[in-house]
């Protein structure tokens, strides 16, 4: 069934890594095959942060396989050479796990060309590219992933996350949420639900040059919104169009560098509880997610069917 959570501090920063970990851990009964974080950190905004993987962490039903670390090393070398060819300067490099890396990069050209080049290396996927966004996802519940990647100290303005129970595709990182809104800097999406016109939309979008990295229906939302924005739509306009263009049942969150949005399908079949105040918006599949950061008595409500909301930092 999956659980989603998100929060945005308006006009302030906070320890969003720790807060989101608490919210997602409260939802672990909705699925703990994998957990993903999209954290919008406090940065100087000068350089890109690229989170990418050079291999998979796989479990039941995955179409990927586990590979030897030497394969990861080889792929990393090719990525490094491609970065040099693209004119991207690596300022800082962290190899958090053998298959998971974080690069701080100076780059000022086209992101689509950049992504296509890097992802042309077999087994390499960019999880996120942004000046404040970092997508971290792996197998296990929120606490496991948080500890594995040391996320509880991340300070930022907003964040969205996902606790996944795999239903539509296998258990691996490529099918885990959040999805990056390729090729847009700092756009990420998490989704709870099922999309029934995934393949129809995917074929159309692929013909328009958009890229899919998984067989997970939720990835469609990120690609769908990215394509709308590529054609000049605002985030909110794209989200409103998605209520008609996407068929199925869904509640999803989308975040950009300075905003956080939610959309709920016209059947209102998937849950969402929302807390809104002047300085904080917090939302999740269940109220207990919000209670993990706001234990005191608060005013919450369920958004109605077909509702789209966007908040700025």
């Amino acid at each position: 069934m999956c659980g989603i959570a998100g929060l945005i501090h308006r006009g302030n920063t906070s320890n969003v890594g720790f807060e989101l970990q608490g919210m997602l851990q409260a939802l672990k009964h909705r699925g703990e095959d994998s957990t993903g974080y999209a954290l919008y950190g406090k940065t100087d905004g000068q350089n890109f942060i690229m989170r990418f993987k050079v291999g998979e962490n796989v479990a039941e039903g995955s179409s990927s396989v586990k590979e030897d670390v030497s394969v990861y090393d080889e792929r990393k070398k090719i990525v490094d050479s491609y970065l040099s060819e693209l004119g991207a300067k690596v300022i800082k490099e962290d190899r958090i796990l053998p298959y998971s890396l974080r690069y701080e990069i100076q780059y000022d050209k086209d992101l689509m060309e950049f992504s296509q080049k890097i992802e042309s290396v077999e087994g390499v996927e960019i999880l996120s590219m942004g000046k404040s966004l970092e997508v971290i996802k792996d197998l296990g519940n929120a606490e496991v992933v948080c500890n594995r990647y040391n996320l509880d100290k991340v300070v930022g303005t907003h964040a969205i996350g996902h606790a996944r129970m795999a239903t539509e595709s296998g258990v691996d990182i490529k099918s885990a949420h959040p999805f990056w809104g390729y090729p847009f800097s700092d756009v990420s999406v998490v989704h709870n639900g099922q999309l029934t016109n995934y393949w129809n939309n995917r074929r159309v979008l692929e013909n328009k040059g958009m890229r899919f990295m998984s067989e997970c229906d939720s990835e469609l939302i990120a690609v769908y919104l990215a394509e709308k924005m590529r054609n000049g739509a605002t985030l909110e306009e794209g989200m409103k169009e998605s209520l008609v263009g996407l068929d199925g049942v869904f509640t999803y969150f989308v975040a950009t560098k300075d905003s956080l949005g939610m959309a709920k399908d016209t059947m209102a079949a998937k849950p969402l509880v929302l807390y809104e105040s002047d300085d904080l918006v917090a939302m999740g599949s269940e109220e207990i997610a919000i209670r993990s950061i706001l234990p005191q008595e608060i005013e919450t409500y369920d958004p109605f069917d077909g509702e789209v909301k966007v908040w700025q930092i």
């Binding site: 016209t266 059947m267 209102a268 079949a269 849950p271 509880v273 269940e286 109220e287 207990i288 919000i290 209670r291 234990p295 008595e297 608060i298 005013e299 919450t300 409500y301 369920d302 109605f304 069917d305 077909g306």
Partner: protein, 284 residues
Amino acid sequence: MANLKTSEKKSKAQSMGLHTEVLTGKTQQKFFNPDEAENFYYFGTYDVDFNKRTEIDVKNMDCREANKKIDELMKDGYGTIVIKNPQGKHSLGVGILNKLNLIFEGSLGYFGCGSMDGPIVRINGRVGWSCAENMMAGKVVIEKNAGSCFGAAIRGGDLICKGSVGARTGIDQKGGTIIIGGDAGAFTGFMMQRGRIIILGDVGINLGDSMYDGTIFVGGKIGSFGSDAVEAELTDSDQDWLKRKLKVAEIGENFDVSKMTKVVAGKKLWNYDALEPTEKKGAI
């Protein structure tokens, strides 16, 4: 589907009008037999004193521990129990088959007060999905908002939300009354079979979709009517009942019920009653 027919040989329960149908074919269904009433034991019922009051803090309890504690307190004769710090936990106050004043100081998560029969519950916060699902009797009052599937499949009692509710309120409702002080979402009264829903505010799309029976009263705007939901005449007795019910519910006492819209089943969608061939023909 079970094959229904009338039986010439009536049991005592049928003679008393408790039920008329007889199921043929393989079935596990058993009807209440008044001849065996002395042997009837209602599990989990206790003699309680409403003046005997206590409080429990469930902050560090899971729902099973909290529900067990409520049961133990009822067993000790406590008739008024105050629950502190529910903090959105799921399935609190479920399966209570007893007279009881139960007060939650805070909000509940999913399935709060489900499958209960008799207590009077006041929740000074919000409730999540499926509050009071399958309630048989009693009264639940929610001071703030409620999630979707509010009062799903209730058989009786009064369920009152002073705020707004999500989608599919009263889905599969089989009796009782649901009263909403604010707005309600899409598919309100979806497949309801009996009972009444009162919404003082606006309601979303597909109101009363596929309803078999029952009545919905709406004070505000209606997004759209669902399949087979039709507007009916608001009678004087309807208005009297609405006024009385809103007063008892301590909600909308001064609301102008004469402007409410009454919605009932058109009875064209389902094959309702084999005894009415014309209706059956119309449905086909």
